[in-house]
Amino acid sequence: MFTRCFRSQRIMVPRLPAALAIVIGTSALAGSPTSEKPPTAGDASPAAGTVAPPAAQAEPIEPSPEPLQGPVALDLLDLFVHPIGPEGMEFSEKTRSLDGKRVVVEGYMVRQELPYGKRFLLTTRPVILEEDEMGPGDDLPPQTIFCFLPDNLAMTVVYTPARLRLTGTLRLGHREEPDNMVSFVRLLLEPPEKPSPDSTPDAAPADAPAPPGQP
């Protein structure tokens, strides 16, 4: 699937893939390209194909104190004040203003060695996290978001290399995760919408190579 997607990008500018990186069982819904434009800051309407009905939203970790509103686009590169100073980072004003609110972000799922469970990391560029070999020594960009699936969904995460567009509720603040990682930016994902015919990937040509399997 990825081979097809990657090759097709050459004639699909500015097509961007958009979907949740969630699978039910082993059937990945992730990485399905669509032809919609990426949302811009201030968008008030839900992004098609990524937002579940409000009634279906789950809050597995931190209940939202506010009613649902349309997601606001948040660029990962704008999470922090630039340039980063000599010590800690600082949330940008926009990031702080979105704490507890619905946002839509784009980025790449970090490839991990250990099982994902119901959490994965999203960051600005493709990165391999060699946590089994290297421990917490990593090549993660600072702009990394911890993304959590709703607890009440029988879903697990599998890796996908595609650029992802995710919608959920943003949570800020220090928290030590069960695997000893420390999170500061979390995204409580909304359940995925069922794939529509419009979001089905292009059919592969008859002579297309077999897609690489999930590692």
Binding site: M89, I128, P142, H174
Partner: protein, 659 residues
């Protein structure tokens, strides 16, 4: 699984060593490790130490089921049959299943000044009067006084750098003409070279922890463990179990205690990473970043640690500060008996500690970027440089950032990172202020990390970056002859070799890739072996790196310890570097997939890996070692990795007759 097997072996040996009946206590572990204890064979000697080098003695003893108690105070260690003076403290095992009453006896900070082989025995008595004795051995390696000592020692570790990594870097940077290298790397020009055996205590294939600790202690350790022998309080959620293992005195501790030499660690990785941590910390778990970095400061009174340069700022910020990775589960507190015996602070579980502030208030100068590093006060005696939150960016991305052809370092929000040679220069300038001399470890960390990723151009450029740092060290040794420079690795990574060169131009290669016909187009007619390989010719820019790595008829790399990957031979692109990418100019800029299996797929040339992993692995291959300066003639032939430590210390403690 390996540890269990070793325990079982030790258990059997313990039973054999006991003269009592079958219902007798048994010794399941005796530290330092030895073949005599494990198998009954006197050779090879596993544990070796310098005269006076401190190490802990430890034994795990299980009573039989009928008398599940040991007599308090009955555990005794004997060397060559004579009781060892000192206090034996006891504790219970943790993190595994042990018979009721199993007791760990430890005697801290033992040392022996008599060269030669020694036996180590432990005896214990259980409540019903039955006793057990188990015996192992160790060796004290003599130091011969024979000439001028090496005042300064610099160990350069190209992490994962096998012989082919060096060859590839030489071909790319210097080129070859009619079979002759047009030039040599700095490490090639060092006068003495040998090869090093790299196995660890529990595997023929080492990881970076024991791979570096052989140089910092002279001993073999278990993978993932730093400056400690294995024990029976591992695992579980108690991080303290990671820091109570039997210690071995580090080279930094020994040289600071005996000669007052200060020390430094310089790396392109996160500074808590296994290789730098091997020279200034003791833990059974290399991932305990909070405790490791705390110990850098807490125990600097023992290690003489005065320079720390690399990435890893995340461990130095209070846990509530944005970007901090500090946590209680990776922090440390030492047992009181350990802290007392070794004369070090006990530490504390304090993830909210402002470690960066503590360094600064302890007199360390802090540099957050290249500009700050290059402008530190001339009288700086302690230098901390933390240039990124974790690992630093690799040479290819740093150089292309400086050239303005890549935004990767900007994407990481650390656009002003120094090169390893600049960090090395700064470290030497600071350490050289100590009239007693210094010990410095310099690591090219991402040679390994990018070899894992099978990202050929990135590890080759990191090898070139590492070699530039070696050149700085050699220049210093040239001007300061009482200096020994050793350049080696900790292990080979990825089973790398140079299989030949492309027979086509880059444009032709791209055209073949675009067809997506796999080996028929991307391998056949492209991979030139033997005569067809010719001599790849890279153009080197004024900054010392290739103007481009996507040349016509480029060098081609193969991987023996490879995971499945697609290969197209081209430099793994960044959007601004690759017009083939459709999203050039879009933000974020990089659309390149993360995994070898997901990378380079357009050509559809799948190379099936031999290992069931997503990235390449370390190998057991021997590695090269080159040396220059005082005592360097020792570093020839085939050497065990622990031999490097004793040869280095011969130069530092006993000197060398001649250069």
């Amino acid at each position: 699984m390996v540890l269990h097997a070793r325990n079982a072996l030790a258990l059997a040996a313990g039973v054999l060593a006991s003269a009592a009946a079958s219902a007798a206590p048994t010794v399941t572990r005796l530290i330092p490790p030895s073949e005599l204890f494990s198998t009954g064979n006197t050779d090879p000697i596993i544990a070796r130490f310098l005269p006076g080098q401190r190490f802990d003695l430890q034994a795990t003893i299980s009573p039989d089921s009928g008398s599940p108690l040991l007599v308090p105070g009955s555990i005794q260690f004997l060397v060559d049959g004579s009781p060892v003076a000192g206090t034996v403290t006891t504790k219970s095992p943790a993190g595994g299943t042990y018979p009721t009453g199993t007791t760990i006896g430890t005697l801290r900070a033992y040392s022996n000044g008599i060269p030669g082989r020694h036996t180590l025995s432990v005896t214990a008595q259980q409540a019903d009067g039955q006793t057990v004795t188990a015996t192992g051995n160790f060796e004290i390696v003599p130091i011969v006084q024979q000439g001028r000592r090496a005042k300064n020692i610099i160990v350069c570790i190209g992490d994962g750098m096998g012989i082919a990594h060096r060859t590839a870097a030489r071909i790319m940077k210097q080129g070859v003409a009619q079979g002759k290298a047009k030039g040599l790397l700095a490490m090639d020009r060092m006068p003495y070279t040998g090869i090093v055996i790299t196995h660890s205590l529990n595997s023929i294939v080492t990881d970076s922890a024991p791979g570096a600790c052989c140089y910092s202690t002279g001993n073999k350790f278990v993978n993932n463990q730093l400056g400690v022998f294995p024990d029976d309080t591992t695992g579980g959620s108690n991080a303290n179990n990671d820091f109570d293992n039997p210690r071995v005195e580090l080279v930094t501790e020994y040289l600071y205690r005996t000669f007052g030499k200060t020390s430094g660690i310089v790396t392109t990785a996160d500074v808590f990473d296994a290789t730098p941590a091997a020279f200034a910390s003791h833990t059974a778990k290399r991932g305990d970043g909070t405790g490791i970095c705390d110990a850098y400061l807490d125990e600097s009174g023992s290690t003489g640690l005065s320079v720390i340069l690399g990435g890893g700022r995340k461990w130095f910020l209070p846990s509530g500060t944005l970007g901090s990775a500090r946590g209680a589960s990776t922090d440390y507190v030492l047992p009181a008996e350990l802290a007392s015996a070794w004369g070090v602070p006990a530490g504390a579980i304090d993830p909210a500690r402002n470690l960066l502030g503590d360094f600064q208030s302890s007199g360390w100068t802090y540099a957050a970027d290249r500009t700050a590093l290059n402008s530190i006060p001339s009288n700086t005696s302690k230098l901390l440089g933390l240039f990124t939150y974790s690992n630093m960016n690799v040479a290819l991305d740093k150089i292309n950032g400086r050239r303005g052809t890549s935004t990767v370092v900007n994407d990481y929000t650390f656009p002003n990172q120094p090169m390893l040679s600049e960090m090395t220069t700064a470290a030497i300038n600071v350490l050289n202020r100590n009239p007693a001399g210094f010990f410095l470890m310099v690591e090219g960390a991402s040679i390994d990390k990018q070899a894992h990723n099978m990202d050929s151009e990135r590890w080759i450029l990191d090898t070139i970056e590492f070699d530039d740092a070696v050149a700085v060290c050699n220049q210093f040794a040239q001007a300061n002859p009482d200096t020994l420079v050793i350049v080696t690795a900790d292990h080979e990574c990825a089973g790398i070799n140079i299989i030949g060169a492309s027979t086509v131009t880059d444009a032709a290669l791209q055209a073949r890739i675009a067809l997506g016909q796999g080996a028929a187009q991307v391998r056949n007619g492209v991979v030139g072996t033997y005569d067809a390989a010719g001599f790849p010719n890279y153009t080197i820019a004024a900054d010392g790196y290739p103007t481009t790595t996507d040349i016509d008829r480029r060098m081609l790399i193969g991987y023996a310890a490879n995971a499945d990957r697609y290969e197209d031979w081209r430099t793994n692109p960044l959007p601004l570097q690759d017009s083939q990418q459709p999203l050039v100019g879009s933000a974020p800029l990089n659309t390149y997939p993360a995994l070898p299996i997901n990378r380079d797929t357009a050509g559809n040339f799948l190379v099936t890996g031999q290992i069931a992993d997503t990235i390449a692995a370390h190998t057991a291959s021997d590695i090269p070692c080159s040396a220059f300066g005082r005592g360097s003639p020792q570093f020839t032939g085939v050497m065990d990795n622990t031999d490097i430590y004793f040869k280095m210390m011969q130069a530092a403690l006993g000197g060398w007759a001649g250069r």
